[in-house]
Symmetry: C2
Subunit: 209 residues, 2 copies
């Protein structure tokens, strides 16, 4: 079989990808949300994100304002942290935290018979700064955020709630959408560290472009 | 709406997830390949991986042998590196390399009017050790691996070829499947850093369990 490669300049690969995505969208999408939706589609080559992403009222303006004011991002995996454009975030004063591998988080989880993801959210809630949460893996992290918000122990600037999987994933996302908090959620089972990083970066690139 | 959480012990969440995946498989799958297929489905909550994953002859035995003999893993993103269980790999003597952020790779890419992914494969080809490549993002990395193999400049133990996207992604995977090299490839557009890490870990856990 003869395989024909498309000739695209290195700097143009991303633009060309977004053109293809644009041309294959199943229907029109909101222009303010489009960069987020298209970057989620891009990171998984999965057009399901066109319809499963849910946005709270005015979330983009709120999220961009938070980033401009120096909000930091807390993640539930090292992969999300690795995927976020930390140089862009730093321009606004924010940094990325992931507490999953911390010894005190491991001990807290063991002691409380809980998950590290849950304990890492407790640790994050102690940070005295504006926070965005980018959750790409653990529904238990999202459930703990819900509890902390309900108990008035945490007031996040934004929750990117896109854990992936089969146990309590669907439910954890529905819980977050019942909170009075700005959110971007991938309804259903789908999501992932890549999607959490992609949505974070889409917001950062809106401020750059 | 009342949201009911499933009560699952932290240590049992992964097992329960795999039970659910097993129960929803669209058809029977090969028992030796099952741990790889199921972990790919798990990482993206996407059953497309049941049918898009392609395996070269006897690839599992060859891959496990390579890991046991201390093969290292080269990735095309920091996210894949972050996602691989490095402690498990280290037990067998291997480590994970990602050259994407290296200054010499950036310079080489600029000089050659190429991508950093491509240059990072050239750098990896200089390593004098058995190598597994886990490519979750860049088709240009996969295309460069194809060229290096065709030129007898590289003989990988295994290529995990699961870049994601829209420009030359489909083609790059077909090229690898034409090489005389052990491969695990996600045919089509889908894949990602999460999938590359999941397949790597599935192999590592076969040796652990």
């Amino acid at each position: 079989m003869k395989i024909e490669l498309e000739q695209v300049e290195p700097a143009e690969i991303e633009n060309r990808s977004f053109e293809i995505i644009e041309s294959e969208l199943p229907h029109e999408i909101d222009s303010q949300l489009a960069p987020i939706i298209k970057r989620a589609v891009h990171t998984a080559a999965d057009f399901d994100y066109v319809d499963n992403l849910c946005f709270s009222d005015d979330v983009v303006n709120k999220a961009l304002e938070a980033i401009k004011n120096g909000a930091s991002i807390v993640t539930d995996t090292q992969m999300v942290k690795a995927g976020i454009n930390k140089a862009e975030l730093k321009k606004h004063g924010g940094e990325v935290f992931c507490f999953m591998s911390d010894d005190d988080v491991k001990e807290m989880a063991k002691k409380n018979h809980s998950t590290r993801a849950r304990s890492s959210m407790d640790k994050a809630a102690q940070l005295d700064k504006p926070l965005i949460f980018a959750i790409g893996n653990a529904p238990t992290a999202l459930i703990r955020l819900y509890e902390l918000i309900q108990n008035n122990e945490l007031k996040p600037e934004l929750i990117i709630g896109v854990p992936v999987g089969f146990v309590n994933v669907v439910q954890s996302k529905e819980l977050i959408m019942q909170c009075d908090v700005p959110y971007i959620v991938a309804r259903g089972r789908k999501g992932g560290s890549n999607v959490a990083a992609a949505i974070s970066n889409a917001l950062l690139y809106m401020l750059r472009d």
